[in-house]
């Protein structure tokens, strides 16, 4: 990238019109695009019709937002909900964890009333989940009611890693014991995690 423009917060970048749109690290004020970060200006022309003006910075601060796919670790579990710690958002690792909870009715789409939390998760499991829209609650609410969401990494009772054998069962690699989980259907090349 030659002759790059270094910008600072509040710097006017260009007009907001039918050919330019807002990207990361920018905001709009009175028909102009302004920068909200310090970094370099990048104009993304991959789409021929409209180019995205964004600011690339050394470290982007990310916080979980509704609709994001997150990686979380299950910490505590009871019959109604389980508590999780969000460790990364959309494939970006967070500096520190955020608390969240996953209620029983959000575990899967079908047969909600038959869910037994103990047959879906165990403390220590690494899960993929989606953040539900904000409510008045203080913590983030998660859902795994999609085929691609659920337990990704888990250890058996004896402490050995397990591999999925169906969407409800996982098998221990050492002892061959079968345990119940809400297993995520992993899409190859992790395309889901990076969206």
């Amino acid at each position: 990238m030659e002759n790059r423009i270094v910008c600072v917060p509040g710097q006017r970048l260009c007009r907001l019109d039918s050919t330019h749109t807002l990207g990361k690290g920018t905001y709009k004020r009175q028909d102009y695009i302004y920068s909200s970060l310090a970094g370099i200006v990048n104009v993304d022309n991959t789409n021929n019709k409209i180019s995205v003006v964004e600011v690339l910075s050394k470290d982007q601060t990310i916080v979980p937002a509704p609709g994001d796919i997150v990686t979380a670790m299950v910490t505590t579990l009871n019959q109604d909900m389980c508590k999780c710690l969000i460790t990364s958002v959309c494939g970006h690792e967070l500096n520190e964890t955020y608390r969240s909870s996953l209620r029983r009715q959000d575990v899967r789409m079908k047969e909600i009333d038959k869910i037994d939390m103990l047959q879906c998760f165990r403390p220590g499991d690494i899960i993929l989940a989606r953040i539900l829209p904000m409510t008045e609650a203080h913590t983030f609410k998660l859902t795994t009611a999609e085929n691609e969401l659920g337990v990704v990494i888990a250890c058996s009772e004896y402490g050995h890693p397990m591999t999925p054998i169906s969407w409800t069962e996982m098998k221990c690699t050492k002892t061959s014991a079968v345990e119940y989980r809400k297993v995520a259907k992993i899409v190859q090349d992790n395309a889901d995690e990076n969206t």
């Binding site: 990238m1 790059r4 270094v6 600072v8 917060p9 509040g10 710097q11 006017r12 690290g25 905001y27 004020r29 302004y34 909200s36 970060l37 310090a38 970094g39 370099i40 690339l56 910075s57 050394k58 470290d59 982007q60 601060t61 916080v63 979980p64 937002a65 494939g91 970006h92 500096n95 520190e96 964890t97 955020y98 608390r99 904000m134 008045e136 203080h138 913590t139 983030f140 990076n194």
Partner: protein, 249 residues
């Protein structure tokens, strides 16, 4: 003793509209998410930013759709000619609120829902305009932390010498001996005023020239900091490949 000599020089040799030397460094600490050191004349300040992270204080009161800004202003016990007993007192609590108010006008809090941003500033050496230097240092540290802001928040002080001439960027001596001192924090691009305070009553006829002089001082500081930040980012940005590697994961 006159604050302005007949030749038009102040006690430290500056002219009435002249500011003190500005030196700064961004990213001085490793542990916080952002930090900065700023020196305006003999006033020296460090600022550190933590966050955005999960809300830890007052979780019940926290707004649902925007970030909580938590500030702390303190003075080192060795910052003044007489040792301070406590780094934080009633005066600091007041300045903490002013600082929070000024910074909240520029930070785009709606981008960080259910999160908290901590701003800690400490005065290492005090020589007038402590609050202003703290605001400027906090702005630099926020930029270093990569927190989205609408624009800079820049603050400057000004006072009145001999009841007629406005003095910009006043020192401790001018603050204590002179007339009323005025502190203003502005958003330099849109020209909005984020904070305005006077230490005592000021005549309405004097308010405009003193305020104009303080705003001019703010713009001068803005130009300077702008240059320093751009230079800093040109130096460090190239080494980090402008964060473009993150995009290719």
């Amino acid at each position: 003793m006159d604050l302005l000599s007949r030749q038009g020089l102040r006690t430290d040799g500056r002219r009435s509209g002249e500011l003190r030397r500005i030196r700064c460094k961004m990213g001085v600490f490793n542990q916080p998410d952002g930090s900065a050191y700023l020196e305006q004349g003999n006033t020296k300040v460090v600022a550190a930013i933590y966050g955005p992270h999960e809300i830890r204080t007052n979780r019940a009161k926290a707004p649902n759709d925007s970030a909580v800004i938590n500030c702390q202003y303190s003075m080192a016990t060795f910052s003044r000619s007489e040792r301070k007993r406590r780094p934080r007192d009633n005066k600091s609590a007041e300045l903490t609120l002013h600082l929070k108010q000024a910074m909240a006008t520029a930070i785009k809090t709606d981008l960080y829902p259910k999160s908290q941003i901590d701003i800690f500033v400490q005065v290492l050496q005090s020589d007038g305009g402590n609050y202003s230097v703290c605001v400027n240092a906090a702005t630099l540290a926020l930029i270093d932390a990569g927190i989205a802001m609408e624009e800079f928040v820049i603050s400057c002080t000004s006072s009145l010498a001999n009841g007629e001439t406005p003095l910009v960027d006043i020192s401790h001596l001018e603050e204590t001996m002179g007339g009323p001192s005025l502190t203003v924090a502005i958003l330099p691009i849109s020209g909005k005023i984020a904070m305005l305070e006077t230490s005592q009553r000021i005549h309405i006829n004097h308010l405009e020239p003193v305020l104009t002089e303080a705003v001019r001082g703010c713009r001068y500081i803005y130009e300077n900091l702008n240059k320093i930040i751009k230079k800093h980012y040109e130096e460090i940005g190239g080494a980090l490949n402008w964060g473009t590697e993150e995009y290719n994961i």
